[in-house]
């Protein structure tokens, strides 16, 4: 068994990034994960740890608009980026259309996968105007859920996408 006491003391780094619209700066341990910085240092408990190895997607956050597993990202990699978590979706207590679609489609059961699901769905909807079912399934296939069987989640994302389309059309 490797002796943990022999390892070098990791360097600490100062990073700053935009988090849910606000600039934050802090000193992080170079070996710390982005997930632990978000949860333990910045107190954002929305992103969850489900496996720690990028298999379950419960920790999904958006970094520069892309859905990533925060458990696989080192904290220093957040420097200079734009980071969004589930906490940034609602306007205070008012759910955004995607969250509202999850609510009305009963897409939440235990809710542990929900923050990650929402962020993966958001990344998709930002990148694609009218994703079909196939694209939605693909976008969510890195987020595991053991309760719902996914279908109500997929339907919620479809509904949110349709609503976004209608909204866009109306604006144009």
């Amino acid at each position: 068994m490797p002796n943990d006491r022999d390892r070098e003391i990791p360097e600490s780094v100062t990073i700053s990034f935009e988090l849910n619209g606000k600039l934050v700066g802090l000193q992080v341990n170079a070996a710390e994960t982005a997930l632990s910085v978000l949860r333990d240092r910045l107190g954002l408990k929305g992103p969850k740890e489900g496996c720690g190895i990028g298999e379950c997607g419960a920790c999904t956050v958006l970094v520069d608009g892309l859905a990533v597993d925060a458990c696989l990202l080192f904290a220093p990699q957040l420097d200079g980026r734009t980071v969004e978590t589930v906490e940034g979706l609602a306007d205070r207590e008012t759910l955004n259309p995607l969250q509202q679609a999850f609510l009305s489609h009963d897409a939440v059961q235990c809710g542990y996968c929900t923050p990650g699901m929402l962020m993966s769905a958001k990344a998709l909807l930002q990148g694609e105007a009218a994703p079909g079912r196939k694209a939605i399934v693909e976008a969510l296939s890195g987020n595991l859920c053991r309760c719902t069987g996914y279908l109500q989640i997929i339907e919620a994302v479809e509904a949110a996408a349709a609503q976004e389309c209608t909204g866009r059309d109306a604006k144009e």
Partner: protein
């Protein structure tokens, strides 16, 4: 009564708890920060079976941030836990019985220090020969996992004269089926937090049964129950695993002995290593029918591996035996179900308590008998399924809410269409198949009392508070209970405030298991609501000087039936009751009507009601790669009454997903499987189209006719898929999971002339 509001029972309602989960604000146990909390890490056995010669903690104690190392000697009370049998030490004392057994517990200021200290602890073992096979464990002279023998239990069910019936049968089919260990793979790894609040130990736990946790933690620590308070944190799925203690004993021990908050969060690897699994079973199934497809007899022998500790094994043992026939009449029957201790991981409760495994066998047998008789799989089920007046395997007469036939009828058109479509689809190496699977499921614990209590309180401002000990682990019980209370009291569910699963504030509702909370807690809530309603009507009639029979409850008021202006609000009634010194809180109680089973024959009334279901699965099988795609599942469920239909759909779709995993991909190999990297559960991409069909054959004793659906949702899927694979290939698979290799092998054997 005409005062039941529309839009409550059977309507779409907002699920309690969803909003906070969508905002990322729900507090799961690992989300609760308490300054000063120490971090706990367990030192776990790497040996399957060994005597503990010594534990050297000296190196750990030199790590500056390590506060304390606990071993068995530090447990102040009874160092044994277990819901049915107290056979599992919190910390191993004399020996370890499986890989992952906790030997010591480290408390440190940081998680890193706790891990470092745990790694520095040296345990000296003396190996004992280990058992990994239940049949071997039952042989005379086998090493003992527990001092009183390796047999966890044996259940027999006997009816009629199977031997004689087999002699006169037109067809007899005899096969052996096996299933694997499965991991629950709930998304939230087990976690908890404990602290002292004065002289009370408070634990926030990820749990399915806070009132059981309270008892076992109190006994571990030598405290009276009132000194331990369990509060269910938001719980990220359980599926049976979180019925056993996970971290509660550890955080309780550390918080109590150190008088400091203590937290413990399992890694996914740890959750895989040391929480219970689904029982792997070997099922030898012989059944017979006469020429017109009537079942005559069955002889069913089941041997299962319960692993190192009892957990819910005894419940699985009983349930497997009583559900071995499926939803079919069998006048001549012998069932023997045996579970043995081994040094494998403990197997416990997992969604269905052994019924998914036995359903795979009984549904395969039905198709085999049908094939032997040249009969359609649907037809043989229709000819044998339970109806009013049928006697079950335990000799229980079914007197109402027997919806199995209705579920078969409900899927029949889709089944016929799927068979036509399959016949029309010919595409080289891709074969199409259609399969059917049916099941029954007894609601509640088997042949024993399993009551629930609940309270409803009328507050002075006219509000209604529902208190229930029923843990909602994502299945939606809180919402259903609020709907039931609301419906009885003429309110909307949002008007009911809920206080759930806190042992200080709520009384026991029993476990969230056995698909029992809608039926049993639902009835307890209804009982409390009726009492409250009685008071509201009586007091209002008096206040309004109006005939009591002619007042109704509506939107938080009681009013005269034909005169809406003549009304009095709940608040006014509450204030009056308060002034008169009357209580404002009412208890409800329900215990299903069951009888214990005869020890020898297994006869009795084990359940007060049964749920029924039939699934039709359509698959495509790639005969070159062994890949099976499940394309569509039509899932008809008799739930008595769907209190929350959207929630029922959610249970069905989730059950289908878990059934696909059970059928095609999931296998936990003890000593090998480590985490989600090598244990694959279905993803969004694995899901077929699911068409849920709710069948409502009301249960006369159910709240508004409701029964349950949590476990039934999963049970028929795998049998339907396996029957569909057999339909596609013409060759049957008898061992689960039907992974690529097994399917490919079956495809190859089908090709042989």
């Amino acid at each position: 009564m005409g005062d039941r509001p529309a839009g409550v029972i059977g309507e779409k309602v907002e699920r309690i708890g969803s909003r906070e989960r969508l905002l990322g604000k729900a507090s799961f146990a690992a989300d609760i920060d308490l300054p000063e909390a120490v971090h706990l890490v367990a030192v776990r056995s790497e040996r399957p079976h060994a005597r503990i010669v010594g534990i050297d903690v000296s190196r750990a104690q030199h790590i500056s941030e390590c506060l304390r190392v606990f071993t068995a000697e530090d447990v102040p009370g009874r160092n044994r836990v277990g819901i049915i049998r107290k056979d599992q030490p919190l910390l191993a004392d004399d020996k370890v019985r499986c890989i992952g057994d906790p030997v010591a517990l480290v408390a440190a200021e940081t998680l890193e220090a706790a891990r470092e200290a745990a790694a520095a602890i040296r345990v000296e073992y003396e190996d004992i020969s280990a058992l990994f096979d239940p049949e071997e464990a039952l042989r005379p002279g086998a090493p003992l996992v527990h001092a009183d023998g390796n047999l966890l239990g044996r259940r027999t069910v006997k009816r009629g004269n199977p031997e004689a019936a087999f002699k006169h049968a037109d067809v007899v089919v005899e096969r052996v089926y096996t299933t694997a260990h499965l991991e629950h793979a709930y998304l939230e790894p087990d976690a908890g937090l404990g602290y002292m609040d004065g002289s009370t130990l408070v634990i926030h736990a990820s749990t399915q049964n806070p009132h059981y946790d309270q008892k076992d933690v109190a006994e571990l620590l030598g405290l009276d129950e009132g000194s331990v308070r369990i509060i269910q944190a938001a719980t990220g799925g359980g599926f049976g695993s979180k019925l056993d203690l996970n971290v509660q004993g550890f955080v309780g021990l550390a918080a109590y002995l150190l008088n400091r908050p203590a937290r413990m969060v399992y890694t996914r690897e740890e959750a895989f290593l040391c929480t219970p699994k689904r029982h792997p079973l070997t099922i030898a199934y012989k059944s017979a029918a006469n020429r017109d497809g009537r079942l005559l007899a069955a002889d069913i022998r089941v041997v299962g591996d319960t692993g190192a500790y009892a957990s819910y094994g005894p419940a699985v043992l009983n349930r497997v035996a009583l559900h071995a026939t499926g939803p079919y009449e069998l006048p001549n029957l012998f069932v023997e179900s045996v579970l043995a201790y081994t040094n494998n991981p403990t197997a416990g409760a997992m969604r269905g308590f052994g019924v998914p495994q036995i359903a795979f066998a009984h549904e395969s047998q039905m198709d085999l008998l049908a094939a032997a008789l040249g009969m359609s799989p649907l037809e043989i089920r229709l000819r044998n399924c339970y109806r009013i007046g049928s006697l079950t395997a335990s000799g229980q007469e079914l007197t109402g809410s027997v919806g199995i036939r209705a579920t078969l009828d409900a899927v029949a058109p889709q089944y016929a269409a799927a068979v036509r479509e399959r016949n029309g689809t010919v595409s080289g190496h891709i074969r199409r198949g259609v399969g059917i699977g049916s099941m029954m499921y007894g609601i509640g614990n088997t042949g024993q009392q399993n009551p629930a209590t609940a309270h409803l309180e009328l507050t002075l401002d006219g509000g209604v508070v529902l208190y229930s000990g029923a843990a909602d682990v994502g299945q939606g019980s809180s919402t259903v209970l609020a709907q039931i209370a609301a419906a009885e009291l003429g309110l909307q569910p949002e008007a009911i405030r809920t206080v759930i699963a806190d042992t200080l504030l709520t009384t026991s509702a029993g476990a969230t298991s056995a698909s029992r909370q809608t039926y049993i807690s639902g009835n307890a809530v209804l009982d409390a609501a009726r009492k409250l309603k009685e008071v509201l009507l009586t007091e209002a009639a008096d206040m309004l000087k109006f005939d009591r029979a002619k007042v109704i409850l509506e939107h938080g008021s009681v009013r005269a039936v034909r005169d809406a202006d003549r009304s009095v609000s709940f608040a006014e009634i509450a204030r009056r009751c308060h002034k008169l010194g009357m209580p404002l809180k009412w208890q409800g109680f329900f215990d299903p009507d069951t009888t214990p089973l005869d020890l020898e024959t297994g006869q009795g009334v084990p359940y007060a009601t049964y749920a029924f279901a039939t699934h039709v699965a359509e698959v495509s099988v790639d005969t070159l790669t062994g890949e099976v795609r499940c394309l569509r599942v039509v899932a008809a469920h008799d739930v008595g009454k769907a209190v929350n239909p959207q929630g029922v759909h959610g249970q069905i779709c989730g059950g289908v997903a878990m059934g696909i995993g059970f059928a095609l991909m999931e296998e936990f190999v003890p000593g090998q499987t480590e985490s989600l990297k090598d244990y694959h559960i279905p993803s969004a991409a694995d899901m077929p189209e699911v068409i849920p069909i709710i069948v409502e054959d009301p249960e006369p004793t159910g709240p508004f006719g409701a029964k349950g659906v949590g476990e039934p949702a999963l049970v028929p899927t795998a049998p339907a898929i396996l029957n569909a694979i057999a339909d596609a290939l013409g060759v049957r698979i008898y061992d689960l999971p039907a992974g690529l290799e097994r399917v490919l092998q079956a495809a190859l054997s089908a090709r042989k002339p």
